[in-house]
């Protein structure tokens, strides 16, 4: 005889069953509730908002020109009313205004350097709220960056992105010239390596500060060749070099020794691709004996692998100082010591195959081709040129 079995529960079992079901249900609901996601992002949101609120008072609008006004963004770098902005905002104009808290103040142009893309202004504004300057040397691809600036005629805005890389050249997309034929994309080259970030900007935000997560200035927005999708920013160390020139000379003084180079094949399979093309006549290099075809190995303490390394070394050289250049010719190393002179505003174009110099070569001695890189000091008893 079969009989249906029934589970008979006493009253004391029900609370245990309820707890057995309720505890997992509570954790499941807590896991999938949207409020939990908000809680997790809230600290980051608060931090970003605090960064923006801290930076906002230091960021200003910059106007220049009378008939056609060029408008961009700038920011205070000290409490004396000194404003940094992009030279492209100033252009060829001789006047500039800074809009602070809705009031337009006349500004004095302390310096304007198109090559670095930096301009420095000063307005009569005591105890101006300045942004702290950071360091860009420890930045890595993927680091978060923030841009605070004025898009068109709208209020100050915030945009965030990550560092895409560090480039000295960028692609300018083809322009529509109205003929229907279009044009080709071109590659332009900065004077020194720039920070490339995917923070999007709008017209009017060139000259904005590029900030790290601590709210420190790590660069200034120089240009956006792709209609605001990504930006290129001059690093803060390059800014400081130009600011020092502005303060001391009222203009930027770019140094060079007069050597044109191109990128060649990596014939020795060591990554060294910079070849000398020409020693520009009338420069220290023209008297040194450096020859076309020489491979540039080192400039001062900087190892040279690509043309960008050459431009970075040249950008941070100081007029009146000296520059030590090590080149490889065949398998021998030669070290030259040049006085750094001021770079002309329009350097002589590169002439492939042109002779380096007609002057008699100075005595030189080969260096050890197996000498280590910057780990060991360069042997200086074979300096072959000192063109003072």
């Amino acid at each position: 005889m079969t009989q249906a079995w029934r589970f008979r529960t006493s009253g004391i079992v029900w609370p245990f069953l309820f707890l057995f079901a309720a505890v997992p249900a509570f954790f499941l609901l807590d896991e999938f509730t949207p409020a939990r996601a908000t809680d997790e992002f809230q600290p980051a949101n608060d931090e970003i908002n605090a960064l923006f609120e801290r930076a906002k008072p230091s960021v200003v609008k910059v106007h220049s020109g009378d008939k056609f006004i060029s408008a961009g963004t700038g920011f205070f770098i000290d409490d004396r009313g000194t404003v940094l902005t992009s030279s492209n905002v100033i252009g060829d104009n001789t006047n500039a205004r800074v809009v602070v808290n809705g009031v337009e103040l006349d500004a004095k142009i302390l310096g304007n350097d198109p090559r670095s893309g930096l301009a420095m202004l000063r307005v009569s504004y005591d105890e101006s709220p300045s942004l702290p300057l950071g360091h860009s040397g420890d930045l890595r691809t993927g680091n978060n960056v923030v841009v605070v600036g004025y898009p068109m005629s709208f209020p100050v805005a915030f945009s965030e992105g990550q560092i895409c890389g560090f480039d000295i050249s960028f692609i300018v997309p083809p322009k529509n010239d109205g003929t229907g034929k279009g044009s080709v994309a071109t590659v332009e080259r900065f004077a020194t390596t720039h920070i490339h970030a995917n923070a999007s900007i709008s017209p009017g935000q060139v000259g904005s500060p590029l900030l790290n997560e601590q709210g420190e200035v790590i660069g200034i927005v120089a240009t956006s060749p792709d209609s605001g999708q990504t930006i290129y920013a001059l690093p803060v160390e390059a800014m400081q070099k130009i600011i020092a020139d502005f303060n001391q000379y009222g203009r930027a003084r770019h140094g060079w020794v007069g050597v044109n180079v191109v990128q060649g094949p990596d014939s020795n399979h060591d990554g060294r691709t910079v070849r000398v093309v020409q020693a520009v006549p009338g420069t220290p290099a023209s008297k040194s004996g450096i020859r076309p075809g020489d491979t540039v190995m080192r400039i001062d303490e900087r190892e040279i692998y690509r043309p960008a390394d050459v431009l970075d070394a040249s950008f941070f050289s100081h007029v009146g100082g000296s520059m030590t250049v090590v080149v490889r010719r065949d398998q021998d190393l030669f070290s030259y010591n040049f006085p750094v002179i001021e770079r002309p505003s329009t350097p002589a174009p590169s002439v492939p195959g042109a002779p380096a110099s007609s002057s008699a070569p100075l005595t030189s001695a080969p260096m050890d081709p197996d000498s280590p890189g910057d780990a060991e000091p360069i042997l200086v008893n074979h300096i072959v040129s000192d063109s003072h």
Partner: protein, 164 residues
């Protein structure tokens, strides 16, 4: 007898329908209810707007216009207002290089058009070739066109060759 001429069935039906007629009390109740609702409708206060619309409709209908004329008039009024409004906001300026600036000053961002760029203009050369679009501010205190900088177009910003 022809079947079609036999109306006896119809007569029987009509005789039955005669009994379906409503009673006199029902008809009296209907009249009472009708008059009650009519009085209630008259007691509802008519708004001034409704009276104004009614008066306007009566006034327009008194002209006995052809239906096409009101539409044409409406379009004409809109066109005249648009032409006058735009003509008050068009600015034409020129510079020393022979470029002419045609700007259309639209309502500023302080209005309800918050997401629309304040105004825009086209730069045309002497050959009327479109070069690029530039944005101009809406502030009437700024008579000149404003170029909001986005890209560095200065040729002096870039070196022709790599040199040190």
């Amino acid at each position: 007898m022809d079947e079609n001429q036999d109306f006896s069935a119809l007569r029987n039906l009509l005789a039955l329908k005669k009994l379906d007629a409503p009673l006199d009390a029902r008809i009296d109740q209907f009249l009472i209810e009708f008059h009650r609702r009519q009085r209630a409708q008259l007691l509802v206060p008519v708004s001034r707007w409704s009276r104004a619309v009614g008066w306007l409709r009566e006034w327009i209908s008194s002209f006995e216009l052809v239906p096409a004329i009101p539409y044409a008039t409406a379009f004409a009024v809109i066109a005249v207002i648009a032409v006058i409004g735009v003509s008050q906001r068009v600015q034409v300026t020129s510079d020393d290089a022979g470029q002419y600036q045609l700007s259309l000053d639209l309502p500023s961002h302080q209005s309800s058009f918050a997401m629309i760029p304040a105004s825009f203009g086209m730069v045309t050369t002497a050959a009327s070739k479109m070069d690029h679009l530039i944005f101009t501010p809406s502030r009437s205190t700024v008579p000149a066109a404003t170029r909001f900088v986005l890209a560095n177009n200065s040729p002096s910003a870039y070196d022709a060759s790599v040199a040190f």
